[in-house]
Symmetry: C2
Subunit: 411 residues, 2 copies
């Protein structure tokens, strides 16, 4: 029997307790011994829970219990999770977490502390919810150099964009629907501004390239400026608009990492990932493109990934799984002005097509039947963001009003 | 340093040697020690290989070398691979293989021998080539009861069907093209008759349900009877025809397993998996649908999965990975006559629509503009195969000529 503790009894935490109870037999068969929930940390009271006698409000009850070998941190947020996780690792307990904010902010440090103390720190659930991605990348694809990772990493924004694309809903209406259905928080900023996706691509980038990438070093754009007009021009151009987190390895060893809405060609595997689903493409030098698809959030999908990590820790009480990266700074990150993309532009004014042609030298005009008067949308060839911004300024100088600019994702 | 041997220097075997050489640094970083290719078994000579001095034609050179701790079997076929693998496991060497024929035929026995000898027997590359699937199913999804696994498991047939669907090629022409491009063998029977896909769904079913499923217990149909007419009716019905391997868990504990072409609705995640790519959907009771996509074959994708297994064995020289199932018989397999599907039927004769309506009681006629004279295609509601066959006989009795019948996949 291995004793474990769960810190947090919210959506994911209660799911972890539920799966450890309902799937006891299957887990026993896989592990060869029983997993016993000895303590659950939460400041609230749960008198009606069948596990009511295991609850504590005092973290020290977990920290000082030497029988507890594995702790699941499912509280979310950096504080106090960071302090608790650090103390657990230092006291020789393995920790698993679904907390992407914590891993993105403190991953390298916590992995180091785990290594020093010969315990494991696993976080399969922190990216893609129930979709296996951390373990496949660190184990199955270990014989690959990863050239690129790109994904739809946030279900809320993908739900909103899908509703805009398939039902022609306005952004605000789609957001409200997502909130009503429980896909979006009352305060949706972390999702719609791209911060949640940013944390996840940072974790995947750190894993792929072995050096911690911090979210504040990553250029991040959300989807709040996307309009139905852009959605329709994208459709005409054979694309759908998706919020993409992407990291590429460049030839000079730098990485090009970004979170931004992109026009994704319909034939891309990522174009068909709709509603609250997530999809992650990993491009290995041996495997080529591998795509992982599923529900990126939700109580049981996320909790089942946490439980799989608990099982793995229980199996490796004396040995360490290889999941590690060192600390990093932003020096190996390409400045966003130097990143190269083809760009979609929607602009208002006279003779935009001719002016764009002159300034950008060869653009594809998107010929949409019901374009608004004086409105033109076009796509440039590949160009650095710095050069693009200069040319856009020149276009404005010639009297154009820029309505929107979105990257084309060559995915 | 861990010494390993490779048995077979064909497409996959030479790929394994190549990756172990070219990715030495990355593998060292992951494992913490060097993987040294000590022996390569092949009856042919490779005097120009940089590893020429490691080749042997004598299996005993590997078996009797106590320094060799891990052996990669990439010869293919059941014999002599079965005998060699058994001997390696019994002598305390871990074995990894890409050989689906071997795993489908002898998996339970070899897993047992591995367990008795406290070594590992891993076969990530046996299904889906470079797509991570065995490890995600056995580790990441361990906290799920698997309700269903369905996939496009054979790249050759998927390439042929894609060419029929997108380019309107005839089956024979598409097969010839696949052969010319190296996607199909000169003798394509194992692919186009469905046997290769059958071996793979048997491995996934054994893994999902813990009991070995043998290929000869599985109803298997290939794609040789699929015509362009069927492809076009499917298109009109909003579907594409794919060769699907599928296993479902039924409420009485039996499993419903089959390999057959199916009409897959275009909104299914499996419908967009084209050409030589594979895709596998795993439906867990906690995660919901998770889909894995990538190249299901090829030298480097497959070899990179073999190398990942080698690394895992090197890491677990003294402990066992949990990857196990017991022997099984066909008693838990639903007889194919009792399996339930909606069915597509294409038939020739007078008044087929009215007759089908009378006999099947409610069918959907597929209204294709350029149907041949006297030809009708329709889709039934869900029905057991036994009852379907009786009703088809009744339709024939009323003068219909049955041109084709294909299952509808509710995927």
């Amino acid at each position: 029997m291995v004793s474990v503790a769960i810190m947090g009894h919210g959506v994911v935490g209660s799911g972890v307790a539920e799966i450890l109870t309902t799937h006891k037999k299957k887990l026993f068969a896989g592990l060869g011994e029983e997993i016993y929930i000895k303590k659950i940390l939460d400041l609230r009271e749960f008198p009606d829970s069948p596990l009511a006698d295991r609850f504590t409000k005092d973290f020290d009850d977990i920290l000082n219990d030497r029988e507890i070998r594995v702790v699941a941190e499912v509280m979310g947020g950096v504080n106090p999770a960071y302090d608790f996780v650090k103390k657990c690792l230092k006291s020789g307990k393995s920790v698993v977490t679904s907390n992407k904010e914590l891993v993105a902010a403190k991953g390298a440090e916590l992995l180091d502390i785990a290594k020093e103390n010969n315990v494991n720190f696993l976080f399969e659930a922190s990216v893609g919810g129930g979709i296996p991605i951390i373990r496949p990348m660190s184990q199955c694809l270990i014989a690959n150099n990863v050239d690129e990772v790109a994904g739809i990493l946030n279900g809320t924004t993908n739900f909103i964009l899908t509703k805009m694309i398939t039902d022609g809903m306005q952004f605000d209406d789609a957001l409200k629907l997502a909130q009503d259905l429980g896909f979006a928080e009352r305060n949706p900023a972390a999702d719609i501004e791209g911060h949640d996706a940013c944390r996840k691509i940072c974790i995947l980038a750190s894993l792929a390239y072995g050096k911690h990438v911090y979210p504040d070093a990553v250029h991040t754009e959300g989807i709040t400026k996307i309009t139905l007009d852009d959605v329709k021009y994208a459709e005409t151009f054979g694309c759908v608009i998706k919020l993409i987190g992407r990291v590429k390895k460049l030839e000079d060893g730098k990485i090009d990492i970004i979170v931004a809405p992109m026009l994704v060609p319909k034939e891309s595997q990522l174009a068909n990932i709709d509603y609250e689903f997530n999809g992650i493409m990993v491009r290995g030098d041996c495997t080529g493109d591998v795509v992982f698809y599923g529900k990126g959030a939700g109580k049981l999908p996320t909790a089942s990934a946490v439980v799989a990590d608990i099982v793995d820790c229980c199996k490796h009480l004396k040995t360490r799984k290889y999941l590690y990266w060192t600390d990093g700074d932003s020096k190996n990150i390409l400045p966003v002005e130097e990143s190269v993309n083809a760009m979609y532009v929607r602009a208002k004014g006279a003779d935009i097509a001719a002016k764009a042609e002159k300034i950008f030298g060869g653009v594809s005009i998107i010929d949409k039947a019901d374009s608004a008067d004086n409105e033109t949308a076009f796509v440039t060839s590949e160009i650095t963001l710095g050069e693009f911004n200069e040319k856009i300024a020149a276009l404005v100088n010639e009297g154009a009003e820029i309505l929107s600019t979105i990257r084309i994702g060559d995915l």
